[in-house]
């Protein structure tokens, strides 16, 4: 009897200690959901979702303050994966948001640039190089195409151009199944019809 009670007390205190220790040692600083959402977002930091960057938007999604369909650069694929992650319904991309036209990058027209540094201050990923009264240039590989540098430019010398497709970035097109499928369906219905007619006396 006594030994049993003692054993349980020992067990309870051991597990209690273990759990308490684990809570301290493995303490999670931020919500893992936010990190997971943030990992899915395209990190353009463009603010088209009306939040000040991708992480704030991720936080808003996690708390349920924002719907999952505010990110045009992420497109349908992002909405799908967010819906999978959060187990919510897939929403169509917000109507106000322009459809994403494919990746773009900023290019500074160097003859026009006056070296005002305003775009450098606007760039969320430090992808613009330059100094006061020196010509600026965009590091193309680091540019996320957020367009945040376009508005501040006083001489309108920043253009957004589509990223050129190379042999390495080229993707095989999706086989035109839908078009074929329609045809297949019609063939099948006709086959069914034929069979049905055969059965009839």
């Amino acid at each position: 009897m006594l030994s049993g009670i003692l054993a349980f007390i020992a067990l309870a205190s051991f597990f209690g200690l273990a759990l308490g220790l684990a809570a301290v040692v493995f303490k999670v600083e931020s919500s893992p959901v936010i990190d997971q959402i943030d990992a899915l977002l395209p990190q353009t930091q463009c603010g088209q979702c009306s939040f000040a960057g991708c992480r704030p938007y991720a936080e808003a999604i996690a708390t349920g303050d924002a719907p999952i369909n505010l990110c045009p650069p992420g497109g349908e694929n992002l909405i799908q994966s967010l819906a999978d992650l959060l187990d919510v319904e897939v929403l169509p991309l917000g109507e106000e948001e322009d459809a994403f036209q494919g990746p773009i990058v900023a290019v500074i027209i160097e003859e026009t640039c006056i070296g005002c540094t305003l775009c450098i201050q606007a760039c969320p990923v430090d992808a613009i190089l330059g100094a006061a009264k020196q010509m600026h240039t965009v590091i193309e590989s680091e540019c996320t195409g957020c367009e945040l540098c376009v508005a501040p430019c006083p001489v309108d010398c920043i253009e957004m151009i589509p990223v050129k497709q190379t042999l390495k970035s080229w993707r095989w097109p999706e086989p035109l199944y839908n078009a074929n499928n329609k045809e297949a369906d019609t063939i099948f219905t006709t086959l069914d019809q034929v069979l049905a007619e055969n059965v009839r006396p």
Binding site: P42, Q43, T44, P124, V125, L167, S169, W170, P173, P175
Partner: protein
């Protein structure tokens, strides 16, 4: 070595299909030389890895075999001029690729002299290759721009160096050439077996393999005989064995051939090197022979020109960069009959976006089919789950499952079914009773996965940069706040110090009491007084007028007198 003895130790590979070979169209003639084109278009990227860096300029005169671009980075290969002439442009041009995209090319207007640059062979055929070090041979191969000519296009020197470091006991030479129509390896072995065997010996020496197995499909008896006769000229110490394998597509797939010859299976997503095997193509071996024994870089290759719409199907030795239109014209193209122009074979090739694209290191065959020669698949019907695709898959995959997930763009699931083990041989599409373009789905899914990965990497970098920027701005803000705090503190201290002076205190309190004009006038007066005091102090500091001798003093007085007079004169004049 009798046939039966070799067949006795062969293993089967799963799946595969029997195809009509159509090889006799082009494998009976000798290799013809392509006419020299007026213009050669040489892409700087003809291999896996980074494109070569152009080293020539527009207007440069180049000799045949001269380097046009150096290898860029560890996995890359140089490209060479395949004819002598003048560089007329270095710009983007359509290349033979299913995308129909352009890539940077060097344009050479040929002068017709075909003048070679200095070729320095490492060794002659009389010498023994044991005189050479592995590094010497490897460097020669790397400088010759040799890449896997069986279709992989991986820089050969890189592959050989890796194999040299790892424990490689078997060298497999791929002479199977399993795709219908293609005969470029076949005629190479028939007509130039010596080159192939010497090239193989060089490879064998570098990788340090104990044995070498040449796998050749049994539908190439002439090539087999030619190789056998050549090898019998060497002693048995070479440990090179020529093995006929049953003709079954895709026996020429690297992993399938290894399985047939050795019974070993390359692990999923692994390389043959993981199981101590390295595989090279016969054409690559011949190119290595040219580089080492003749000092010639890779500037030409044998191309099969065949198909129902070609009048004289044949194999041609074509300088790289020759426009495909030129060789098709040379072979006689019946334009009224053409249905499709395919680079590669009917199973794994792709329709050319244009015939004004150049021949590259990858161009093994140009198939120009006439109407009705190749099956054009009818519209796809729904999958009926018959599983014929998985029965035919030589990699033992489940194409029907991968198809569903690829169609739904479920890229994770499709990877769970090992899509990256798919060799895109096309057996599944070939046997599908519903004519579903399965391989196209798998190619699509693969490139989508790669694209996703690129995007993910890019967004990770963007996230890091953004976070770094935020941190930096935060730091700058904190530093600014800190600086402001310190300044304020200093001011406060100064003020406190001033406050201690009673006079100042009185005045400041005075000022505070009546902040009117008289006070500001007061301040002005004060400032003037301070300035005067300062001036006086400065004047008193004039040290060079002290302790003057009499003569000096006299001179100064004279000068001062003159100055006074002049100023008076000026005054009177005005």
């Amino acid at each position: 070595m009798s046939l039966s003895s070799t067949l006795s130790h062969l293993w089967p590979f799963p799946g595969g299909i029997k195809l009509t070979s159509n090889k006799t169209l082009s494998n009976q003639q000798s290799i013809t030389a392509a006419h020299l084109s007026q213009q050669l278009i040489i892409p700087l990227s003809q291999h896996i890895g980074q494109p070569a860096d152009a080293t020539v300029k527009v207007g440069d005169k180049v000799l045949k075999g001269q380097i046009l671009g150096y290898a860029h980075g560890p996995v890359s290969a140089p490209v060479h001029a395949s004819g002598s002439g003048i560089v007329t442009a270095i710009e983007e041009h359509l290349v033979p690729h299913p995308s129909g995209l352009s890539s940077l090319c060097v344009f050479i207007d040929t002068d017709g002299y075909e003048q070679w640059t200095d070729c320095s062979p490492l060794i002659s055929t009389e010498q023994n290759i044991s005189e050479l070090s592995n590094e010497q041979i490897n460097e020669q191969i790397a400088n010759a721009g040799i890449v896997g000519l069986g279709g992989a296009l991986y820089p050969s020197a890189v592959k050989l160096r890796t194999a040299e470091k790892m424990h490689t006991d078997t060298l497999v030479i791929n002479a199977a050439e399993c795709e219908p129509y293609i005969t470029c390896d076949d005629v190479l072995m028939q007509r130039r077996p010596e080159e192939v065997i010497l090239g193989i010996m060089l490879i064998k020496k570098i990788v340090g393999a104990k044995q070498c197995l040449i796998g050749i499909e049994d539908n190439k008896p002439e090539a087999y005989q030619a190789l056998l006769e050549t090898i019998s000229g060497y002693n048995s110490e070479t440990h090179i064995e020529i093995i006929q394998v049953p003709t079954r597509y895709p026996a020429g797939g690297e992993k399938q051939l290894i399985q047939v010859l050795t019974g070993k299976e390359v692990p999923t997503q692994g390389l043959p090197m993981d199981i101590g095997i390295i595989c090279h193509n016969v054409t690559t071996a011949a190119a290595i022979y040219h580089a080492v024994y003749r000092g010639e870089p890779l500037v030409s290759r044998i191309v099969t020109i065949t198909g129902g719409a070609i009048k004289h199907p044949q194999n041609m030795e074509v300088p790289l960069g020759t426009p495909i239109r030129d060789i098709l014209n040379q072979a006689g193209m019946d334009e009224s009959k053409i249905e499709k122009i395919i680079m590669g074979g009917p199973m794994m090739g792709f329709s050319l976006p244009s015939i004004d694209t150049p021949v590259t290191k990858a161009t093994n065959c140009i198939l120009v089919s006439k109407k009705g020669e190749l099956d054009t698949p009818p519209p796809a019907m729904p999958c009926i789950r018959c599983a014929r695709c998985s029965d035919s898959c030589p990699m033992s995959l489940l194409p029907q499952q991968m198809y569903w997930y690829a169609k739904a763009r479920d890229l994770e699931k499709v990877q769970d079914y090992n899509i990256f083990d798919c060799i895109e041989c096309g057996c599944c599409s070939y046997v599908c009773p519903s004519d579903i373009p399965l391989v196209q789905y798998f190619r699509y899914a693969k490139t989508e996965i790669w694209d996703d990965e690129r995007e993910r990497n890019k967004s990770n970098i963007a996230r890091d940069r953004h976070e770094f920027r935020e941190e930096r701005l935060e730091k700058a803000k904190a530093a600014k706040a800190e600086a402001a705090r310190i300044r304020k503190q200093k001011l406060a201290k100064k003020k406190a110090l001033n406050d201690q002076k009673p006079l100042e205190e009185a005045k400041s309190s005075d000022r505070k009491k009546n902040p009117d004009k008289p006070d500001s006038a007061d301040l002005i007066q004060e400032a003037i007084a301070r300035a005067k005091a300062k001036k006086a102090q400065q004047q008193s500091k004039k040290k060079n007028t002290d302790n003057l001798t009499e003569a000096q003093q006299k001179k100064i007085d004279e000068i001062n007198e003159r100055r006074r007079k002049r100023s008076e004169d000026k005054k009177s004049a005005t």
